[in-house]
């Protein structure tokens, strides 16, 4: 018996030692794992800002081999640390399990081997009733506590969510309907006025009637009439005449044809010959300038800074700079954009009372002519791997936004007054970078958009689809051109298609010889001019599709050609402007150089050219 007891106590000592050792071991492992865990959180390989920054720096100086080596070393270090850390935590977990298991086994052995003396409480038990009474009190107290806490929270954070959601839910579609009704009225009125200014009375009748969809006979208008009926996008040409104005990307309707006259043909950026002024723009942006009256507007942005600039058109002085900030719903982080697109690629637009600007993060804003914000909203950060670049367009009292992003392609019409969505259409197309074109296509106004796989036309008043054609593929960059009832769409890896629009649009001719992936084409009733980004200028017969001439230059072209009077103005990336005749042969007029890199399309007003280089805005003319 004694022996047995001795054995037992010896045994117990042994197990006690084991428990202590295992316990200490587990504790140490536990601490190590926690330390490791803290490290792994710092070493998140997905968000190694340091490496990303270094890579960015390397992109700016691609020749820096030291930096390259540094990145490689750091990358290896981070990855090694990450995986070793994970291995350590996993191994640590197993070791901890073993340690704890041994400790627990030891403890269990000790307590089972220990003599158990059943405890019999000597103290008299509390009265059962007394116990129940105390318990009742505690339960009541607990219940009261739960109720008061719940009520306190409820009243502190009461938001009447359901009502608010319901109002919001009902509010959305209703608002749109009302908007629709009211805009339709104003549109038909203003269209009547607009057209009445420009067209003979019978014509007005036709256009107005067609607005109401009652006229079925198709009227083929003559070229001059067409030209003049390309929409002047302002509904209220109040203070300034539209003639000095260039309200959006690629001129009236976005169709690449300017109505300006006496545009200069010669200048020299280096000597300053014929350069009225040159101003540095604080933030870079690949958008083109727009003009209203004596003001020229453009925007610039960095990842987290967005600005709109207004300059005096004649002197080049800054009138105001507006920062676009605190836009509701604007993402905290800037989008990822390619550096050849930048954060401010879309060109602004104006209706003469307000200017509109959109940025790569989906912020769109309206400013008055003095730079005060009228409204601003975020359309949802676009999922766009190069960066959003479709320019804005104003039609009557609506801003048209082509918003073809990866997951959801849309076209939106926002009210110029408050930015609310007047109408919006989901588009079953892929992401695109082209800009809308709004033209009178013979008997009605149409917005024409191009994105894989369709060229689609929408009614600018209601957003109803007018027609579509499956004829464009790839990552569509060029906008369409329109002339004399024919829409020209083109993209690289795709084809050039001339679409004859009528009751049923059909492809008049196709070509695959020269395709553009950035510059948009421009057309007259006879010719189509196309510039490819790798430096070939081509002229097609607009009706037949035969190539009339081609002219190769050695430079890259990003900007789009513009037709002014009877000349085409096309600037290449080196800043050389190619001015040639609108003709069946290549007849160069002049080839002036600016001496700064250019990717933006020029704007024209009152005998002057406004041209944005990488860092400066130039006014060319006397």
């Amino acid at each position: 018996m004694e022996n047995n007891e001795k054995y037992l106590s010896k045994n117990e000592q042994f197990w006690q030692r084991i428990v202590w050792i295992a316990g200490a071991f587990s504790f140490i492992i536990c601490v190590l794992i926690i330390v490791n865990y803290a490290q792994i959180n710092r070493l998140d390989p997905i968000n190694t800002e340091v490496i990303n920054k270094l890579v960015e720096r390397l992109n700016q100086n691609p020749e820096d081999n030291e930096l390259r080596e540094e990145i490689r070393e750091m990358d290896l270090l981070v990855r090694k640390a990450y995986f070793t850390n994970q291995w350590q935590i996993r191994t640590g977990g197993y070791m901890l399990l073993i340690g704890v298991a041994i400790a627990i086994i030891g403890l269990q052995v000790i307590i089972t081997n220990r003599k158990k003396n059943p405890q019999i409480s000597d103290t008299r038990d509390q009265d059962l009733l007394q116990k129940q009474k105390i318990t009742r009190r505690w339960v009541s107290l607990g219940g009261t506590l739960v109720v008061t806490t719940a009520l306190a929270f409820a009243y502190l954070s009461h938001q009447s969510l359901e009502n608010r959601f319901e109002i919001a839910a009902e509010g959305e579609p209703q608002e749109i309907e009302q908007q629709n009704i009211s805009t339709e009225e104003t549109v038909s009125e203003s269209i009547d006025e607009d057209v009445a200014d420009d067209l003979p009375p019978e014509q007005t009748q036709v256009v107005a009637d067609n607005q109401n969809d009652s006229v079925t006979e198709s009227t083929i208008l003559k070229e001059e009439e067409l030209e003049s009926s390309v929409v002047t996008t302002s509904s209220e040409p109040a203070t300034t005449s539209g003639e000095d104005s260039f309200t959006n990307f690629r001129g009236p309707g976005g169709n690449g044809i300017s109505t300006q006259k006496n545009i200069p043909e010669n200048w020299n950026g280096e000597t300053g010959e014929n350069i009225a002024w040159k101003v540095a723009i604080p933030l870079r942006g690949f958008n083109s300038p727009i003009i209203w009256g004596n003001k020229v507007f453009l925007s610039g942005a960095e990842e987290l800074r967005r600005e709109v600039y207004c300059l005096n058109r004649n002197s080049g002085e800054f009138i105001w700079t507006a920062k676009v900030e605190n836009v509701p719903g604007s993402p905290v982080k800037g989008p990822e954009v390619a550096n050849y697109t930048g954060y401010a690629a879309p060109t602004m637009a104006t209706d003469g009372k307000r200017v509109f600007a959109i940025f790569s993060n989906g912020d769109i804003t309206a400013l008055d002519m003095d730079g005060n914000q009228i409204w601003a909203r975020n359309l949802g950060a676009p999922v766009n791997h190069y960066g959003h670049s479709s320019s804005l367009m104003v039609y009557n009292d609506k801003v048209i936004v082509q918003y073809d992003q990866k997951n959801l392609a849309q076209i939106l019409a926002l009210s110029v007054n408050n930015g609310e969505t007047v109408w919006s259409k989901t588009r079953d197309v892929k992401i695109s970078w082209a800009s809308p074109v709004i033209v009178n296509t013979g008997n009605r106004m149409g917005i024409i958009l191009a994105a894989e796989p369709f060229v689609i036309s929408y009614d600018p008043d209601t957003g109803n689809e007018l027609w579509r054609l499956d004829c464009i593929y790839g990552e569509v960059g060029p906008s369409v051109a329109y002339a004399d009832g024919i829409v020209f769409s083109v993209n690289d890896y795709s084809k050039l298609a001339a679409i004859k629009i009528g009751d049923t649009p059909e492809i008049l001719w196709e070509s695959e010889e020269y395709l553009s992936d950035i510059p948009s084409p421009v057309a007259t009733d006879k010719y189509l001019f196309l510039a490819t980004s790798y430096g070939v200028i081509v002229c097609y017969d607009a009706k037949k599709g035969t190539i009339l001439w081609e002219h190769e230059i050695d430079n890259t072209i990003y900007a789009s050609p513009m037709i002014v009077e009877d000349k085409v103005y096309l600037v290449d990336k080196q800043g050389i402007m190619y001015i040639f005749r609108v003709d069946k042969e290549y007849i160069p007029v002049a080839q002036p150089e600016l001496g700064e890199k250019i990717v933006c399309t020029p704007a024209f007003a009152e005998g002057k050219i406004y041209l944005r280089g990488y860092d400066h805005l130039y006014c060319i003319g006397k």
Binding site: P118, V139, G142, A150, E162, A169, V332, A381, N407
Partner: protein, 437 residues
């Protein structure tokens, strides 16, 4: 205006222009493919796309079989063999099989949410094994007491082996803390019924330990539960487990519950403090019965205020429904979108972007969110009413007692761990041998 990788991919463009011309027809028919799949001249064969198969279905059925077998075995150990050792080894088996091997999923505790969701959302597809894991332990408990809790539930088993030096809690603390599982159950059902979340699974403290993997926070919580279990036995089972609530209720009606003594209690008091879960009911002495009249009166009074408590609870729940609803991701998103001045961090930004690109309109989101909030309003009433009822019944139950001469396990809270049996000096058929003075 679009600017693209022209400088870099000049060669490639030419190449692909050529390629497209050559394969124009192919390109048209498969317009989705930007770059056609190449045909290798070197005879290179492309490797297969690896898609490892999920766990075989047979194994899932085996899981159910193992559940039934182990439940039968542990019931036999408890009721027939009266062996604590058997229960202990079954616990080890369960920790190894249901815990570490099956990684704690699906467990019966979580299955109650699937059942709820399947009842409320007809289109929800519930796997048959989940139903089995929900129903089988309930049926066993209904006939044999909580033998499932004793050592088959891996969550209970892992806590049980940590029971080293349990301290007994005051009876008021036991009752008060014992109400928390009802609240947890109510919330779990509410959130499952509204398809918001499975909170029992989300806050399962031990699953991370079984997987050797999990969020730091949950692993720490699991560690805390296990360490607590050394002194306060099985804290999760007693004061949190929502499935335990169901088993508790069902077990009260169990047919053949385990007993402390194999034959007849001799009132030796040896088992009195043996239960680490304070689930042994002491005899109710006759002198208590003297106060019977006042007790009965109080019982009736308390029973009468139960409807009032239900209403109060329901009303409170309905006031609180917005706080409950704000857990729902749709409601949260709608709220963020509606309140434009809300501070938006990167996480919510991801959600807003995803929503905007999903093509759903805000109007639809708002009306969905409104109907969810409405569901929560109804749910708040029901949850509050249920909790009011539970508090009322607890209070009323605390005013009644049964005349008892023996030491018996509380059929509701007893986890059938069989520890008390070892303390009982009575052996079957040998009762006469042992007497007490």
């Amino acid at each position: 205006m679009k600017l693209k990788l022209v400088d870099i991919s000049y060669k490639r463009i030419l190449y692909f222009a050529l390629l497209i011309l050559l394969t124009l027809n192919v390109f048209d028919s498969a317009a989705q493919q930007r770059f056609p799949k190449p045909e290798f001249e070197t005879g290179h064969t492309q490797p297969p796309t690896l898609t490892p198969e999920p766990r075989a279905e047979l194994l899932e059925i085996i899981d159910v079989g193992v559940l039934i077998l182990s439940l039968s075995l542990i019931t036999w150990f408890i009721l027939k063999k009266r062996s604590r050792k058997g229960v202990f080894w079954m616990s080890i088996f369960s920790i190894v099989y249901f815990g570490f091997y099956r990684e704690g999923c699906v467990c019966s505790v979580g299955s109650l949410q699937n059942i709820t969701l399947a009842l409320f959302l007809p289109e929800y597809k519930i796997p048959v094994t989940v139903i089995a894991f929900f129903v089988i332990p309930l049926i066993y408990t209904l006939f044999f007491g909580r033998t499932f809790c004793a050592g088959i539930c891996p969550l209970g088993a892992i806590q049980d082996i940590f029971v080293i030096k349990p301290y007994s809690l005051k009876s008021w603390a036991n009752s008060l803390l014992g109400l928390f599982p009802y609240i947890y159950l109510g919330l779990a059902v509410l959130y499952a019924a509204t398809a918001t979340d499975f909170i029992v699974c989300r806050y399962d403290p031990f699953i991370g330990i079984f997987r050797f993997n999990g969020t730091f926070f949950m692993l720490v919580i699991g560690g805390i539960f296990l360490l607590t279990s050394i002194f306060i036995a099985r804290p999760y089972c007693r004061f949190f487990c929502p499935y335990g609530v169901l088993l508790n209720i069902v077990s009260r009606f169990s047919g053949k519950h385990m007993t402390i003594t194999p034959t007849e209690c001799i009132q030796c008091k040896l088992c009195e403090n043996s239960c680490p879960f304070d689930a042994i009911q002491k005899p109710v002495l006759v002198n208590v019965l003297d106060n019977r009249r006042t007790t009965v009166k109080r019982f009736i009074q308390l029973s009468l205020i139960i409807p009032l408590l239900i209403f109060l609870g329901g009303w409170t729940g309905s006031r609180f429904h917005e706080n409950l609803a704000s857990v729902n991701p749709k409601v949260r998103l709608a709220n963020v979108l509606l309140e434009e001045n809300n501070e938006i961090n990167e996480d919510t930004q991801v959600e807003i972007d995803a929503f905007k690109s999903s093509g759903n309109t805000e109007g639809k989101l708002y009306s969905e969110a409104a109907s969810i909030v409405k569901d929560f309003y109804t749910g708040g009433w029901i949850l509050g009413g249920f909790l009011g009822l539970v508090f009322g019944l607890t209070l009323a139950g605390l005013s009644r007692f049964q005349y008892r001469t023996d030491y018996t396990p509380n059929k509701g809270t007893c986890l059938s761990c069989a520890r008390c049996m070892d303390y009982c000096p009575v052996r079957p058929g040998k009762e006469t041998e042992f007497t007490i003075d």
